[in-house]
């Protein structure tokens, strides 16, 4: 196994699926000779040619709408939205249409579509290059939402998403792209959608998270181990379908839980997780369910001071965990 970055894992996952299945093709802004602004498709244009690697006009509604149409005909498009912040012109096609196709045709049509979405902050992206968009799609029936945190998960989940017969919004945290590295098997493997992963086993407090924040949670857990607090870190990996069983199993074991995400707290994924825990593991709780999330402002501002104030950090997570453990 070789050590790779998240962006390399994404690239490999797409590349292998494109080799495996001629129905897979990629469309988006600058995905061609430029190789994507994050270089997710570096070298693809040369390998697969311009019929399968389509540099689109700058128009997201058409990127998703056209991908959707091609999916009706059995192709497996991967639509790249350059930054999550620019997905809104495509909201109608994605939220309004894609999630309703299978249901609305009584199962006669399916949508094997992946929309890849670099998202998230901590990179001085300001209000329009940092957004957490996942909860809008999380709320939408008929869409699956995947949010990997490691290279291993990114590749295995992306390959599953491409093979899935449903519209999958695959959000990739930009800050993890080059920051997070890990072992990735060279052979063909897939990871099932809808299965969370216990990234660190522990018995004292559960922390549930996804994406970049998983790494901050792991660091916080490590820091607390010296203080005798044994933290279990549950990485959701797939936001939808949500793996409620893994969450409840962990909470039943520890009796204390903190939910961490970068997205705004109100109506975020954590609200749903908290509700599921409250109804599924109430008798096991030794402390109120905690949430440490982005504040309710429109994304982290550009200034370093304000961005820092927005983002949950290893320190703020550790401090919340400490409080929960002592409750």
């Amino acid at each position: 196994m070789a050590v790779k970055s998240v962006i390399e894992a994404v690239r490999e996952g797409m590349f292998e699926e494109m080799c495996r299945d001629p129905d897979v093709f990629l469309l988006g802004e600058d995905v061609g000779p430029r190789g994507g602004v994050f270089l997710a498709s570096q070298g693809f244009y040369e390998e697969f040619g311009r019929d399968r690697i389509i540099d689109t006009p700058l128009a997201e509604a058409s990127i998703v709408g056209i991908a959707l149409g091609a999916a009706y005909k059995g192709m497996r498009p991967i639509a790249e939205i350059q930054f999550s912040d620019f997905i809104w012109p495509a909201a109608n096609q994605l939220i309004g249409e894609a999630g309703r196709v299978c249901y609305g045709t009584n199962g006669n049509l399916s949508v094997p579509l992946v929309v890849r979405v670099p998202y998230g902050g901590g990179i001085r992206g300001g209000l329009f290059h940092s957004q957490n968009v996942e909860s809008y799609f999380f709320h939408t029936p008929g869409l699956k939402v995947v949010a990997p945190s490691t290279p291993f998960d990114a590749k295995g989940l992306l390959k599953s998403a491409i093979r899935d017969n449903n519209p999958v919004v695959f959000v990739e945290h930009k800050k993890t792209y080059r920051m997070v590295r890990g072992e990735v098997p060279d052979d063909d493997y897939v990871l099932p959608l809808g299965v969370a992963d216990v990234k660190r086993a522990g018995s004292g407090v559960t922390v549930v998270s996804y994406g970049l924040m998983v790494h901050y949670c792991l660091e916080a857990a490590e820091a607390l181990s010296g203080e005798g607090v044994d933290v279990e870190v549950v990485d959701l990996r797939t936001l939808k379908p949500l793996d409620v069983d893994t969450i409840l199993d962990s909470v039943r074991k520890t009796g204390r839980v903190l939910i961490v995400h970068e997205d705004n707290i109100t109506g975020g994924v954590g609200a749903e997780v908290a509700a599921r825990i409250a109804s599924g593991a109430f008798d096991y709780l030794d402390a109120p369910i905690g949430r440490l999330c982005g504040p309710d402002v429109p994304t982290m501002p550009f200034a370093s001071s304000l961005e820092e104030a927005y983002m949950p950090s290893t320190e703020s997570i550790a401090s919340e965990l400490r409080n929960l453990a002592a409750y």
Partner: protein
């Protein structure tokens, strides 16, 4: 088909192209002085990015003639409101920002006139200079600009809106929706497309099957004009005409053909997709050179004056950089401020 607008040719206009356009020697010299300062600021910003002091920047280098020409027309008119886009750096400085305000905006410091450090440089609003640009979402401002023009009309004001976007941005569905609406309601708006033939890496022939964005205007019931956006005077002339047209007859689309001298932003590496000599060739039309030549030919600028202009610009940029660097970022406790209006 779009019409082609050119400035009066040099032969017939000699020696006073600028005077024909209503600019005195002092005024054209002042505009050039600003251009020299703007170039110095932009070059410093790029360098500051490489030093890790400015997280991101887009540059207007190559677009300045179009931006300053159209701005000069707007300023001469006096009743224009601007909806620029992120590449309109020269325009946004030239309206009257101090170099230090510029630097504070690029560094995300207190005193950023656009967003107080909440947004990317120069995103937000500079209302004292009649500018709104809420976001980086390409072309999201185009329908908004159209709504602003509608409001001006409903209020029986003289306001003409100038709305800027790139040719890449012209592909957005909302641009079609905006222009269609403006055509139906005969709104006082000038759409200005700065066409540098690239949307980041995507060349024009992968963005559209037509040669001119201006050709689309006809389908909305108004006129489209192709302008040589490397020519300050042509840009000024075309925009002055367009403003009068918009006020009396309704919308018009100007397509300013320009060059992008720099990579898309400080994050981009254009060697991946651009022929190596393309920029070099384009730089022969650099307005910083061509306007200087013009001024010298007409005895308005000497080499000595040019030298001292450049030195003065460097001094201003040095000072602005130092004080912006020393300025604090906004206090973390302000993160919740202004979520709603009071």
């Amino acid at each position: 088909m779009a019409r082609v607008s050119r400035a009066p040719s040099t032969e017939t206009a000699l020696p006073t192209k600028h005077k024909q356009l209503g600019l005195s020697d002092d005024e054209i010299l002042g505009i050039y002085n600003k251009l020299v300062l703007i170039r110095a600021i932009e070059e410093r910003i790029w360098a500051l990015n490489r030093q890790g002091k400015v997280p991101i920047a887009a540059s207007s280098q190559g677009h300045e003639a179009a931006q300053l020409g159209s701005l000069t027309a707007a300023q001469k008119d006096g009743s224009c409101f601007l909806f620029p886009y992120y590449r309109d750096v020269a325009l946004k400085i030239a309206v009257g920002l101090e170099p230090e305000q510029v630097m504070r905006s690029f560094m995300g410091k207190v005193g950023d006139p656009y967003s107080g450090g909440r947004q990317f440089p120069f995103q937000g609003a500079d209302l004292p200079h009649k500018i709104i640009q809420i976001s980086n979402v390409v072309s999201a401002g185009v329908t908004q600009a159209t709504g602003y023009a509608l409001a001006g009309k409903l209020k029986h004001e003289e306001t003409v809106v100038l709305c800027y976007f790139g040719e890449g941005g012209s592909s957005q569905g909302e641009v079609h929706e905006a222009m269609n609406f403006a055509g139906v309601h005969n709104l006082p708006i000038v759409y200005i497309c700065e066409n540098n033939r690239y949307a980041i890496s995507v060349p024009q022939n992968r963005q559209m099957a037509v040669g001119n964005v201006a050709d689309r205007a006809e389908s909305y019931g108004f006129r489209g004009v192709v302008v040589d956006g490397m020519d300050f005077f042509a840009s000024l002339q075309a925009t002055s005409d367009a403003i009068l047209h918009a006020r009396s007859q309704g919308p018009i689309l100007l397509e300013m053909k320009v060059e992008r001298f720099m990579p898309h932003t400080t994050d981009d590496d254009d060697r991946r997709y651009r022929p190596s000599n393309e920029v070099e060739t384009a730089r022969q039309q650099d307005p910083v050179l061509t306007i200087a030549d013009y001024l010298k030919v007409h005895g308005i600028l000497t080499d000595e004056q040019l030298d001292s202009m450049r030195n003065e610009a460097q001094e201003k940029v040095d000072e602005a950089t130092d004080s912006a660097e020393a300025a604090p970022p906004p206090d973390a406790s302000t993160i919740h401020d202004h979520l709603f209006a009071s």
